[in-house]
């Protein structure tokens, strides 16, 4: 599959927005879906639908096998040691909540510290914040530098003997900074501290190898990875899934249930309570196959080319201020425009079919630090082209015309 004309695999681009071609630059928010994924959902519901795990009939057996087959595909894609280290959740947010809640329950007590960074998305802060109230723990934030990065030195500075877990993003959804996860896990492990990685932006854009990164937890958002909505993945080292208490309780995750007490099922059942997102899990296998066909190396190369091109033309545009200048940077271009608020930019761009996001991108702490209430963000996916970024630039110029700024 050739990445240069991969747009045609995504049916959304056959549609017009305000009579213009869609220039979709909001993939960090959620990615579009290739035809194969959409078809899989359609076929599963039309021809093969059944709940998994519980019944013995033909459709149920087939669905269960397909469901578990996605687990194996994910395992291979992220190079986890064991398929049982893959837990399906409703999203990355739930994956992080699961860890914060169960890790907090078992291992944290008053005065303990959790180390985050100033780059974190609210989804990698609020779940930890809860533990401040329930457990009296403290949250520290590693500083972001002027280039919009968090360095290993800035992480190291904030580690204390009380640090009990480090939770960091793989790739910032605002500055695009790629964090040195391997160095962070190696430093953390040398002090016996586990590391959770918020992989929402890492998973769709980087090569992610659990055994190489050696992180303890990795949270993935499937809808940002060309997959269906309502699905996320928690990768966790087996020992953690075995040691931590269960999270939600319900059907399918139990061993034996008596009036007096309950035993829990083995992995992966222990963390998959209730009817899961069956159709979504089964369809996500197609997303993985699709990514495998395109090849992550090609994706990385392609997106870097587009991003470099984008940075170049935006830098030439006088009134554009790019947010952050990290040495290792992924597919995100956040910016402000002199004299024009991000929301006005978004509205004007939309009229041309250029879809970006404006706001704090669920990163208020970072925006406070940057001194902006809102920024504009163009984020890339595999379907973007240099022409898309030309159109972005043209529409930015239109903003300047309307607002009569230079």
């Amino acid at each position: 599959m050739n990445i240069d004309n991969i747009k045609k695999e995504f049916p959304i681009f056959n549609n017009k927005v305000h009579n213009n071609d869609l220039v979709y630059l909001d993939s960090a928010n959620s990615s579009q879906k290739p035809q194969v994924v959409i078809d899989r959902i359609y076929d599963f519901y039309s021809k093969e639908f059944s709940n998994v795990g519980r019944s013995l009939h033909y459709l149920a057996v087939a669905a269960t096998n397909m469901y578990e087959s996605t687990r194996s595909s994910v395992q291979k894609y992220i190079n986890a040691k064991d398929a049982n280290e893959i837990v399906f959740t409703k999203g990355a947010t739930e994956a992080i909540n699961l860890v914060a809640n169960t890790f907090g329950q078992k291992y944290l007590k008053e005065g303990d510290e959790i180390l985050l960074t100033e780059l974190e998305h609210h989804s990698n802060y609020v779940p930890w914040h809860y533990l401040r109230k329930t457990k009296g723990i403290k949250i520290e934030f590693a500083d972001v530098n002027d280039d919009g990065e968090v360095t290993i030195e800035n992480i190291e500075k904030k580690i204390t003997p009380k640090t009990k877990i480090i939770a960091v993003t793989h790739l910032s959804n605002v500055t695009g900074a790629i964090l040195p996860i391997k160095e962070i896990t190696s430093l953390a492990h040398s002090k016996n501290i586990p590391v959770l990685v918020d992989g929402c932006q890492g998973a769709p854009h980087l090569k992610i190898d659990m055994q190489d990164l050696d992180c303890d937890f990795y949270a993935i958002s499937c809808h940002k990875m060309y997959g269906p909505t309502g699905l996320g993945i928690l990768y966790a080292k087996k020992k953690w899934l075995e040691e931590l208490p269960p999270y939600q309780g319900g059907g399918g995750m139990i061993g034996e249930v008596k009036k007096e007490g309950i035993t829990y099922g083995d992995l992966p059942n222990k963390y998959e309570a209730g009817t899961m997102a069956t159709a979504q899990v089964i369809a996500f296998n197609e997303s993985i196959k699709f990514l495998n066909k395109v090849g992550i190396d090609n994706i990385i190369k392609h997106e870097k080319e587009i991003m470099d091109y984008g940075q170049e033309i935006l830098r030439k545009n006088n009134s554009v201020r790019l947010i952050g200048n990290p040495k290792e940077k992924g597919a995100v271009l956040s910016f402000t425009l002199d004299g024009i608020h991000a929301h006005d930019i978004a509205t004007i761009l939309d009229e041309d079919g250029v879809a970006i996001r404006a706001g704090h991108h669920c990163c208020q702490i970072l925006h406070d630090k940057l001194g902006f209430a809102a920024t504009a963000r163009a984020s890339l996916g595999i379907y973007n082209t240099k022409e898309d970024l030309d159109k972005l630039n043209e529409s930015i110029n239109k903003c300047k015309k309307i607002f009569n700024t230079k």
Partner: protein, 156 residues
């Protein structure tokens, strides 16, 4: 949809050079407003005199052209008016921006109506309506002297 209607000269002017953007001294009523989805913030300061007239009004805050223009036009407009008239104007404005195509108040000059109607372009941009209404909701809170921060989500 029509960007020219949304970004009329008067909006761009008030957006760029908002009037009354400061903190009124000796204010006796105030309220903060906040739209968590987009981060817009506004803080309204009112000084009512003994006759329940708006002696002074100002605001602090940051936001897009629409929200700044709306706060700027609003504060200009209510200065010197009686609180009861102001309440009527708030309703009139909110109805106009959400459903109706005109203002019905008898307490506005044609010139004032024209100014207010310049905000009507947001009708076609439902996600931006909140930008135009935040300062008005916050003004209501200030008048009612609610101390809690107004979260615009409540109103929609």
């Amino acid at each position: 949809m029509n960007l020219k209607e949304l970004y009329q000269e008067i909006i761009l002017d008030h957006g760029k050079n908002p009037r009354n953007l400061k903190k009124t001294e000796n204010f006796n009523k105030d309220a903060k407003g906040h739209n968590p989805l987009c981060g817009d913030k506004v803080h309204i300061f009112l000084k009512l005199n003994d006759n329940q007239k708006v002696d002074e009004v100002s605001f602090e805050g940051s936001g897009c052209a629409i929200s700044m223009a709306s706060a700027s036009i609003m504060t200009d407009l209510i200065k010197g008016k009686e609180v009861n008239v102001v309440k009527e104007l708030i309703n009139d404005f909110l109805e106009m921006i959400k459903e109706k195509n005109s203002l019905k108040s008898n307490n506005l000059s044609e010139d004032e109506k024209t100014k207010l109607m310049s905000l009507s372009g947001v009708k076609q941009y439902p996600m931006r309506v909140k930008c135009a209404t935040l300062s008005w909701h916050t003004l209501t809170s200030a008048i009612n002297n609610k101390n809690e921060e107004i979260n615009i989500e409540k109103f929609d």
